[in-house]
Subunit: 343 residues, 2 copies
Amino acid sequence: MTTATLRAGIDLGGTKIQAVVCDDLDRVRGEFRRPTPTEGEPADVAAAIVEAVNQAALAAGVDPSDIAALGVGSPGQIDVAAGTVSQAGNLPGWRGVYALGSALTDALGMPVILGNDVQVAVMAEMELGAGRDYGSFIGVFAGTGVGGGVVLDGVLWRGRGAAGEIGHMVVEADGALCPCGREGCLEAYAGRAAMEAMVRRRVANGEHTKLLKIMAKKGKTRLASGVWAKALKKGDPMAVELIDRAVWAMGNGIASAVNLLDVEAVIIGGGLGLRLGQPFVDRVAEAMRPHLVMAMHPPALHLAALGDLGGAVGAALLVQDHAPRRPGPQPVTRPVHHIAPAD
Amino acid sequence: MTTATLRAGIDLGGTKIQAVVCDDLDRVRGEFRRPTPTEGEPADVAAAIVEAVNQAALAAGVDPSDIAALGVGSPGQIDVAAGTVSQAGNLPGWRGVYALGSALTDALGMPVILGNDVQVAVMAEMELGAGRDYGSFIGVFAGTGVGGGVVLDGVLWRGRGAAGEIGHMVVEADGALCPCGREGCLEAYAGRAAMEAMVRRRVANGEHTKLLKIMAKKGKTRLASGVWAKALKKGDPMAVELIDRAVWAMGNGIASAVNLLDVEAVIIGGGLGLRLGQPFVDRVAEAMRPHLVMAMHPPALHLAALGDLGGAVGAALLVQDHAPRRPGPQPVTRPVHHIAPAD
């Protein structure tokens, strides 16, 4: 195999940058993860992406110049044609428009294709992961926020460009305040940012929890998914209660989506989903059941198969989608030989 | 024009049977409406349908033998191939399976095609009504219950066969009991059956309302849409409160669906929607807004353009869908020259 068929993918998140180098069978040949800069400006984020791509190439044992192209899954508003990202509020100094594509091309010397971070993760599950065997599914990614995507007849449904906002389906009328500013959204109950805000409010009000102690012990400044998992394991009542609440909200919101679309499957991922794993998925399935019109014929529920590499692998798939480099028919599904576990 | 191109359509509801006779430009040439039998068995309902078709033919000035085929939009579980309807709980003695198709063919001497009542109403709006100019929309029909349909890329999305249950999206966690037995469904707040049950409970508890008096004065035994409209006009506090609640629930549920699918438009119909009309649609649009991710770019909201003939006209369209009788390309949209007002 020549190295000319290598593609790189970046999952640009608010807390970490995940890079992969994939070959033409979509096998992950190398990967690298680093924190997202929390200060500075978009050019600092671009520099961190460049470093991550170079390190992933090193891990793959190849030279960055052997990589044909880079796909980037980004938050914010993406202009694919212009190669720009705007309004990426979770990234430092990124309220305006930044030409991320040309900055990366200049530094790496390769074509760069941008895509929406959640959409590429859904596409990765569709083409290579837990969605491979389904014509229709809903992807729900519970991490800092709750993102999603709807695949119908094997195609990501984009609507007028903003479809898939399952995290902002209303699960409780006049309910909890969501980071988006609206009330009662699924994300207000099942997104880590909203859950952490709730913990901090309750602790400020004199309630007790092990969550913040576990966080400090792990050297974190945020209630990462691993912090929640550990607190659950220790039976911390506040952690148990808030995860119960997240499960309940996921059950409500996903059941509503399933009643509307009657999809074959639901795929649950994101940092929190992956960390809590199959028991979390099973609990969500149970929470959905009382609300399902087709309760006797529920959709299949699966954990995202690509783990926390899904976003980066999906970003690498952008390269194929926008600039097919392999002649002849493409296989419908392709094996993934290396999947790193969720951290 | 020869009469050989005439088609009949039946909208089989829990309270009324609506028949139309349409020509090959989908113009309504004659119509007839009668109550659905409330006692007896499926054969009695079939006889009532036969009478309605014959009366609609009379109104059209044609002989029933001039009608090429009949489409029937029915509640319950439809087996299109077998021509059977089962589990139509709102129809008398109809818990089991009944071969409605062959019963009607035997009596009328014409081919009969069955379809889902809500789906045919959505298809009618898509092909001939308020959905004609949109590639994607959600239809929401608020009547005795709340039914719906999702049109994506100009095609009714059926999922595994049960898609479109917008009436059973959860709008309030652990909320009001729905006639379906689940809790917090949109239909529990915006379906006439649930609203009437609430009124009767509150009156039994000593509360006052003009709703039941208006009902009696109109010679009705149910709180029909016209009863609600009249009570609203008179400013009856319970009617105002429950319609407010229905608007609120519609806003929540439809906003969730729009956040998921980002469709171009929402079309509101059904007995209650049509009777309360554009002011009701405008109030729902306002109630949606606080929950919309794309609040600056909301979908267009429209009242169903075919009024309460939509179900029957949509049923007549089934004849074309399943057995095209006109050679050559079909026009994408066709004019409707006669639309009866909602009653």
